[in-house]
Symmetry: C2
Subunit: 571 residues, 2 copies
């Protein structure tokens, strides 16, 4: 605490709180709009950077978020370096090499062709139009060309995995092939990129000759994926047995990631390469416990990752460097080559036409990896700000669209979740009803305006269903429901009763919480998914106690969300 | 990533990996020796700092862990500042104000008297022997005196809480009074210290006059503990309801801690004060979920806290500045005044003699807080390195001894834990035995050397117990046991059987895992605690499956540790 002056500490803490707070706020908004969080996090950075805040109040902005020289700038840089190293660690932990072996040829075909075509198109475009793309005097054209080719050809494994989880097809055969292809893509892409990085010649600690760097990089990758992987698998049980539980293992994982990051930085490729490979080696061990993975992932994804992405917006003026022509060309080349390449690879491996297109759309997501690559190239002076902004835009647009396109291609939809269907408008904190029929009428009344149907019609549909078999599921919960023609969107009304209402439950207890569930007549699965969420959320008696004791709608919603498994209950 | 040169990034990552790895390794060793982790973590820093590593290889040490000017030093400083802010956040979260209200007068009496006596003695010593204590020319004697008085009078709530948890008396009346007294102590101590900090006059961002700083500090504390506390309690359900689960809340908590840390830094007291009070306000909310607390605590305690403590050793040459006379005086004054003061306070509040002494010994632990205070004073030039080293030594010694002294005073002992009693020497991976008697004889054979008794004697004691009632507890587990005269320490032998051995279990299944438990004839509770751990660890059928499938002793131990709740299964 002596290398930083006190005003620098003040600005550091203030800057971090604003950056983190706004990045996550925008990240949450992006999620509500069903977009990847990274979109919101980068936007927050753009808002706080030279583009907006810096244009409005340049002095204040420069004081809080300085660029270039000085202790505060160095402190922020150190922190974002650690952030990106930890981010690549958890990205690597998602890589499961055994999936690649199991999917074998199909994955290889999709991964390789899906990488080769964008790579070749990247080479072609960069060689034909170097000036348009912003090749500056003094940069070697070969490095520039290789960089662009690599940048266009890497998919983002984390984004792909996230989209598959959202669609609930992560564990399907199609999902596994897609993940395996993305892993092949990732590993190869990073290898090539490591070589390009060495050629950029900016990382000069050891100042090794380039062939030496390439040999060392390949040897390092081999060591990590074979030797270190086996050693970690042997060492983990000892760590769990003898170090503090549950936190002790975390320290050694982070220390390992920092160490191997330092090794690759020394070799002359970037630190993130070592952290990524360490993550791969670690994530493969069956001894790694879910709790360790979850703690690491939560903290890194919600503290370090947002800080890193928001900090990107601090470095570049996105408005000044936005070149529409360039953005369109980059997006078009990237998307066409990636979708076609991956689809062709899938087709050649024998997948159906529909599945091949799905593969292409799914793997088109570039996401975070693209942005990290671009940032490194920008900082080594290989590309200029215009091309960087175009690459970031391309990465964001492909990430935003690939989920929707994949949904269309597969005609799948995201599963209905209870927590997305409840609102405070449909919450009756204390029902007046004393009987089952009164309760259903009271809740139908609340549903009527949003459903666009008279309450009477709703109530009779629900009562008709109720007459077939009672919907009291025991544990003081009842879930009357009906499927109705012409309902725009599924709708859930929650009512609480102080006295308890007889819903003919198997355990004979009156219902204190009643969910009225209305879904479209066209779909059975909407109803099934929502009812499943309700019974999962309230299966434990103490969850019902808490639901009855909650003092506000928000408290109740928080409870339902946590108990039903949050937004990504896998499997 | 541009304010730091590439060699600085290399050294930053390398330095962090060594610092974190070694700090935690020593921290784990300290824990095995039943000492607080902080002792090991600080020792690791001393080893890597100027004291040892710097004396052996000054240039290399200075390159990796630079002090003072430069980008790398600033990056490390920024990181340790964030670390200490997050540490005080989680320390604050442990403060439960409702405990203070409930314990009322007793807690106030212990807390106030236990603080007043050391404070007065500190004032006296500092006024009488300023030169011996190292008051330098140019420091105002008043500031020096007040600092020393405060430093001697603060207890360390986290250490006290940890000791009580270890002894399993955290939730007892005595434990609650002790915690409440430590909270009173902590809050008051930090208030006084905030004022002293303002008088040190090093934090000069706003450059407010001192009375203004005092008024602002008190107003800030009031705002945090009353207004912000209520607002947070209202806001948390909304955060849980609408932000991502489980990570979303983490970001906003950290952003909040950084923000209020910045506020106090602006007022002119140190950043940690704001983070601490924010932690108090947050930790009090009943809406804060256990999972959020655990994730935050694990990550901060095992990544940031070790980095912070180890970094202390980097700043000072502990050998050169070690002054035995000074250390003895500081330790004696601190311990005598604190133990007497707290014991007197307890006695006046009507506690028994034994309990009063227990209170004194328990609250004598200074731990981390002392060290942070000392570091701030050192960096503002209020104290010199000799006094700093004496304060650190005092903090470590009081933390190391207070657990043992409290045990003695209460004649309590730490509960026996299964995982502390098993060793690879007493693990029979695949038993030859086919019958119950053979199994007991085979395991007794393994126990004999360590027990210092012939196998025959052990086997007959166990068989005698077995003849009273069978020890097959079902779920493929059996726990034959006996209490024996003259056994030095409890001893557990684990045997696995491939075929299963008939232990007359209630579920009729043969035992595949057999625990032979030998305890001293003097104690019933040793046996009960170990047997309880075994049945807790293996109550789920899949835990038994995993125990049977584990390929090494370490894997089995890791499983037993995790399933039986690690080293601190509370309650």
């Amino acid at each position: 605490m002596s290398a930083l002056a006190h005003h620098e500490i003040l600005y550091l803490l203030l800057g971090l709180s604003i950056l983190l707070g706004l990045a996550r706020l925008f990240g949450e908004i992006a999620k509500w709009l069903r977009q990847p969080s990274v979109v919101g996090e980068i936007l927050a950075g753009i808002l706080l950077g030279p583009t907006i805040f810096g244009a409005l109040a340049p002095e204040l902005q420069g004081a809080i978020f300085p660029v270039g020289e000085g202790g505060l700038a160095a402190a922020i840089d150190g922190l974002t370096t650690i952030a990106v190293v930890l981010f690549l660690l958890i990205a690597g932990m998602e890589v499961d090499l055994s999936i690649v072996w199991r999917q074998g040829k199909t994955a290889l075909s999709v991964g390789l062709v899906g990488m080769a075509l964008p790579f070749l198109m990247g080479l072609a475009v960069a060689s034909l139009f170097p000036t348009f793309l912003g090749l500056e005097e003094g940069t070697r054209p070969l490095v520039f060309t290789l960089f662009l080719a690599t940048a266009l050809s890497i998919s983002a494994l984390p984004v792909v995995a996230k989209i598959l989880l959202d669609l609930n097809i992560f564990r399907s055969d199609l999902g596994m092939v897609m993940v395996a292809a993305a892993i092949v893509n990732d590993l190869l892409g990073w290898m090539v990129f490591a070589v390009v990085l060495a050629m950029m010649g900016t990382v000069k600690v050891a100042a090794l000759p380039i062939p030496m760097v390439i040999v060392l990089t390949l040897a390092f990758a081999f060591l990590m994926l074979v030797v270190v992987r086996l050693l970690l698998d042997k060492a983990l049980p000892y760590l769990y047995a003898y170090a503090s539980w549950p936190g002790g293992v975390l320290s050694f994982i982070c220390a390992g990631a920092f160490f191997f990051a330092a090794v690759t930085e020394w070799i002359g490729v970037h630190a993130i390469f070592g952290a990524f490979l360490f993550g791969c080696a670690l994530g493969d061990s069956r001894h790694l416990r879910e709790r360790t993975r979850a703690t690491l992932e939560n903290f890194v994804s919600f503290i370090f990752v947002p800080l890193f992405f928001a900090s990107i917006g601090l470095k570049v003026d996105f408005l000044k460097s936005f070149d529409l022509g360039l953005v369109v060309v980059v997006c078009a080349v990237a998307t066409v080559s990636k979708v076609l390449g991956s689809a062709l690879g899938a087709h050649w491996a024998g997948m159906s036409r529909r599945e091949s297109w799905a593969m292409g759309f799914g793997l088109n997501a570039r996401g975070a990896m693209e942005i990290i690559l671009g940032l490194l190239a920008l900082e080594s002076g290989v590309i200029n700000e215009r091309l960087f902004v175009a690459l970031v835009t391309m990465a964001l647009l492909t990430s935003m669209t690939s989920g929707t396109l994949l949904e269309r291609a597969l005609q799948r939809r995201r599963p209905m979740r209870l927590v997305d269907r409840v609102t405070v408008r449909h919450f009756v904190s204390s029902m007046k009803a004393q009987t089952r029929e009164e309760a259903i009428r009271e809740l139908a009344e609340s549903a009527a305006p949003s459903a666009g149907k008279p309450a009477e019609e709703i109530a009779s549909a629900v009562l008709a269903r109720e007459s077939l078999m009672s919907t009291g599921i025991g544990n003081r919960v009842a879930i009357p429901h009906a499927r109705m023609e012409g309902l725009k969107a599924p709708l859930v009304v929650i009512g609480r009763s102080d006295s308890g209402i007889d819903f003919d439950s198997p355990d004979g207890r009156g219902a204190r919480i009643v969910f009225l569930v209305l879904t479209s007549a066209k779909s059975y699965s909407d109803q099934l998914e929502i009812l499943a969420d309700i019974s999962r959320a309230l299966q434990r008696p103490d969850a019902v106690d808490k639901a009855l004791a909650s003092k506000s709608y928000a408290e109740l919603l928080a409870l339902l969300k946590v108990e039903s498994g949050g937004e990504h209950a896998e499997g």
